[in-house]
Symmetry: C2
Subunit: 298 residues, 2 copies
């Protein structure tokens, strides 16, 4: 069997089987970050993302933007757990003919965004490679009482996203987006999010991750799904790399959130009891079922 036949999630399922984990590991593979004990009040959050030329960026993209993205996708994972970021390790695979200036700019892109969110780049590795390859591993922290996972959504919770969706590639949003750390910080301090994820595989695919982890269903309302630049609905639902937060909040917290407006959010639906069922009320008031088809990595 080839990788292209089992797909990314099939592969992850295979690999995590039989992975022994120490007692200090609260959550291993299967959420936006791994979660381990740090001290009495804090968990450590750990995440990593590899960016490859020709897949996550093109040789023509500005090096500062490539560096920005490499840091941002990891920061987005930390945000999705309600945490803050601290340390980064950066591995670079570089073609020997790369101009040094280009490498410096990639680094600048990472550093500038990192600094904004209090990240220190404390280590790394550099190698020869045919194609530019960047791996960032990010270590963060979260107050134990503020940890938010994919599981925890309850029937009746309202579903929110932090920004318009779709067309991330065409609009170049995927290269210059701002990870939602500030929003996540406010959310966990004020609004008790019950489940959260960052949208990297697409709204529907990532909402299914929450539904599966929480053992619930959901109902979306087409009219209120925010789209980037009025893009077709299809793209808002299925495009990847939006990097907005998708989260579930109890009803009274949801009302406060909508009233106070200290975070830019869009309420797009509610959690239901119907396990793993995702439906949408379309513009004509009809209920349609949305299947779990997201971005395929292989």
């Amino acid at each position: 069997m080839k990788l292209s036949q089992v797909g990314e999630f099939g592969l992850i399922d295979l690999l995590k089987r039989g992975l022994p984990t120490a007692k200090s590991v609260k959550k291993g593979i299967g959420d936006d970050c791994a979660v381990v004990e740090w001290d009495k009040t804090r968990y450590m959050l750990l995440t990593t993302d590899m960016l490859l030329e020709g897949i996550h960026f093109t040789p023509k993209d500005a090096p500062v933007a490539i560096g920005h993205k490499a840091m941002a996708v990891n920061l987005s994972d930390i945000a999705a757990m309600g945490g803050s970021a601290k340390y980064a390790l950066v591995s670079l695979g570089l073609p020997p003919a790369s101009p040094v200036e280009r490498v410096k700019q990639i680094y600048q892109g990472m550093q500038r965004l990192g600094r904004r969110f209090g990240v220190s780049i404390i280590g790394g590795d550099t190698n020869r490679s045919n194609k530019l390859t960047i791996n960032v591993a990010l270590i963060g922290q979260v107050d134990k009482k503020h940890l938010v996972r994919r599981r925890g959504a309850r029937p009746g919770d309202a579903i929110f996203v932090t920004g318009p969706l779709g067309d991330s590639y065409r609009s170049r949003h995927h290269l210059n987006f701002m990870p939602r750390l500030k929003e996540a910080g406010l959310l966990v301090r004020k609004y008790n999010p019950q489940a959260m994820i960052d949208i990297s595989d697409g709204l529907i695919a990532d909402l299914y991750h929450i539904l599966e982890a929480s053992g619930v269903g959901a109902r979306l309302h087409e009219e209120v799904i925010p789209r980037r630049g009025e893009c077709p609905l299809e793209r808002a639902l299925y495009d990847g790399e939006d990097f907005e937060l998708l989260f579930a909040v109890g009803k009274s917290d949801a009302r406060r959130l909508l009233r106070q407006r200290d975070i830019n959010v869009f309420c797009i639906g509610e959690i239901t009891k119907r396990k793993n069922k995702l439906e949408m009320i379309n513009k004509r008031g009809k209920t349609v079922h949305l299947l779990n088809t997201g971005y395929r990595h292989f």
Copy 2:
């Protein structure tokens, strides 16, 4: 200017300039691991290494061995600081046509070695890639009183290595070596190593790292430099990827170490006062100077 002109260490120097680091960072870029505060008695150690097909392994190498190496090179960095390993994050870039079995075996190689040293693989990332690419980020810990860095060697200290050197590629040692974590643990508990590094760039290049960081020189004795399979001296001095520990120990600790023999070690010389000067007494009793030329990554 191209990367191939500035080389890896020139690049690292460029990149680490102006890197702001938080107060909790005891050591950033420039040692085998980064060192940050964990709690009252422990530091956290962080390291990362990227392995690329065609550079660190070939498509013909056994997948279990490739996985083993990806974990081992990182464990070796933790050993070099006197620590133990805890958590690993694994990023894979995989050709879509890869047989799933091959990927499982790579993972098995990592897991088996990780388990032996108490490492939990707690997260990762998988991507499509033309060539197999593996990045491991490893988080470990060290008792504050046991931390060993590159700096700290003092004139008069004896210089040791933990095994024979050279011919690592030809002998396939680079694919199946055992990282010296056990030896490092014994060393820091019993023999007060003053400075330590793992030999990845070659004996001479890595000894220079200790000399530069410590502001000292060294004298080696050709006769006692252990060579893998009687390989030529040149290779024992300059080949990379031996992954033995190279360390400096005070005289009386050195005598105890040689007497007790609870660690397999070879005494190869002594630290001198002559800053950044590295000489060797050859078999005819002549003193020769050894220049700082190690493995070039670019």
